[in-house]
Symmetry: C2
């Protein structure tokens, strides 16, 4: 048995995972990140203890622990250099501290890589050799599988798919760049774009959905309005699918992958997103690699992180 | 000893290459592609025969042959599917035909991959783990080294760096897409852009250089004018460096490589190109991976192809 932990700014998800990649009951506990690294590492230690006891009760032993963390880290040393969503986390040797506390080998990587690794191992990327995964959330994260292995780049900073620029004069991105995929295809960007159209006076069902309070606008509501064929929502979804499509074309031309997966809240829009997206890709990409590439919704949803983390431990 | 062959639409370059990657005297003969596949394969066979005799005269034997070809091919089977610059080449089993003719193992790959492989082995990419190479010529070609191996993608069509779109509403590219790097940073694009500025009446030294005949405009002349601080030429070089810089930022964010090399005629512009390019990258890329990445001119020039081809044979 392995332990997989998906350690985010809001929740810690954790599970026993078999060596075949099956996650047993997925557990979750609040991170309470505001309490700082020491208390949070204690909480991670408790999660491991709970799963160790559970494993023992069914006559299994734990071979290793894998952990995905929401923040940039040095993969080789397992040190979290700086995590914007985890107050006080600067140069914290997470891997070694957790390993010392629980007496088991620990592997850590960033959460985007780990989620894509899980999706490759047991989700929509199964049996592919080369895969690119994107997570459309508050931001746009990504991970790359090359020859059946996670590709991390020379410093562990590869796969920043959200920060591929699609228009150097496009909208400002939070990273300092312009026209990054994240500035078009994140939930944040979609809400911002919708809001600006609403403020310019376009009529939409969304005005009613948010009861006149634009602060209540969410990507989920935009998708709901899209399902009702609301003109403004359909326009915003179409724009987002267009830029996402250009981003996918670029990935096909660079990686010639077997599969590209989309996950995260926005990917739940299903064919409302995938149909216009595939039209853009079909029109713009080289035909042979396009026809080879499956462009699909990720299937593991909230289990991708713990399964991918467990895979780190297996490696 | 190995044999490396760089088989282009205009010339066949060929050389004996040691197993350490040193090319002995580089030879060249016209391809005479218009004579069709049979005659050209005979010519390749003659080149091999000449090098075999040369090896024998110095008491060496040939272990294998590698060949880079200017056209898309199926790497696994060694079949050239279709080569725009080689009339009559459709589904020609180049690898097997040459191997049968000379009685030695042959490996083939496309010329862009092979040139980058050579540059990684013995040129500016030496000792790097992860590298991206770009060739700025009539078009923009590329190749990717991941974990010290050429990355070909699932169908052998990865690394199409020239067809990463930098602006989905940008200038039409020959591939059918819009705003591809090739539509900004190829010699063809640079000449087209300069010509259009000249036709709109801008004054420039280039009018004198081409003696009033815009058909005589070349990237080399534009660079010459740039060295004379010609305002229009400097503008065009700056625009090209800008888009190339955005392309480089995207590669850094995706691959987090050790090195990015530029080769081909335009890269000869040296600091006239690299200085403005690095300014763009510095401004837009994530600082840690940017600072890690060497962005340099390729060093092997016309030997990269034969050396990289020989490396295929060594693998």
């Amino acid at each position: 048995m392995l332990i997989g932990i998906d350690f985010g700014g809001t929740n810690i998800k954790y599970a026993l995972v078999t060596e075949a990649g099956d996650a047993r009951a997925l557990k979750s506990t609040p991170t309470l990140a505001e309490q700082g690294p020491d208390r949070v590492i204690q909480r991670l230690t408790d999660c491991v203890g709970e799963l160790q006891a559970e494993a023992k009760s069914i006559g299994e032993t734990i071979r290793g622990i894998g952990l995905g963390v929401a923040g940039p880290l040095d993969f080789a040393s397992g040190v979290v250099s700086e995590a914007p969503n985890l107050p006080g986390w600067r140069n914290i040797p997470l891997r070694d501290r957790l390993s010392a506390a629980v007496g088991l080998p620990v592997q850590v990587d960033n959460d985007a890589n780990v989620a894509v690794y899980g999706e490759w191992w047991r989700g929509a990327g199964q049996n592919s050799n080369n895969m690119v995964g994107m997570t459309l959330g508050t931001g746009v994260g990504g991970g790359i599988i090359i020859n059946r292995q996670l590709y991390r780049g020379s410093l562990g900073m590869a796969g920043e798919i959200g920060h591929v620029s699609l228009d150097p004069n496009g909208p400002q991105c939070g990273c300092g760049g312009k026209g990054c995929l994240e500035a078009y295809a994140s939930a944040t960007a979609m809400v911002r774009r919708t809001r600006s159209l609403m403020e310019s006076g376009k009529s939409t069902l969304l005005t009613e959905y948010v009861a006149g309070d634009l602060n209540r606008l969410t990507a989920k509501l935009i998708h709901d309005a899209c399902k009702q064929q609301d003109r403004l929502a359909v326009q915003v979804m179409g724009e987002m699918a267009f830029y996402l499509g250009i981003g996918v074309v670029n990935l096909i031309h660079l990686f010639n992958p077997d599969v590209i997966t989309l996950s995260g809240g926005m990917a739940q829009a299903g064919e409302d997103l995938f149909a216009p997206l595939r039209r853009v890709v079909e029109e713009r990409a080289f035909q042979r690699p396009y026809q080879h590439t499956r462009i699909v919704q990720a299937t593991l949803v909230d289990r991708a992180g713990v399964i991918g983390a467990a895979r780190l431990a297996l490696d």
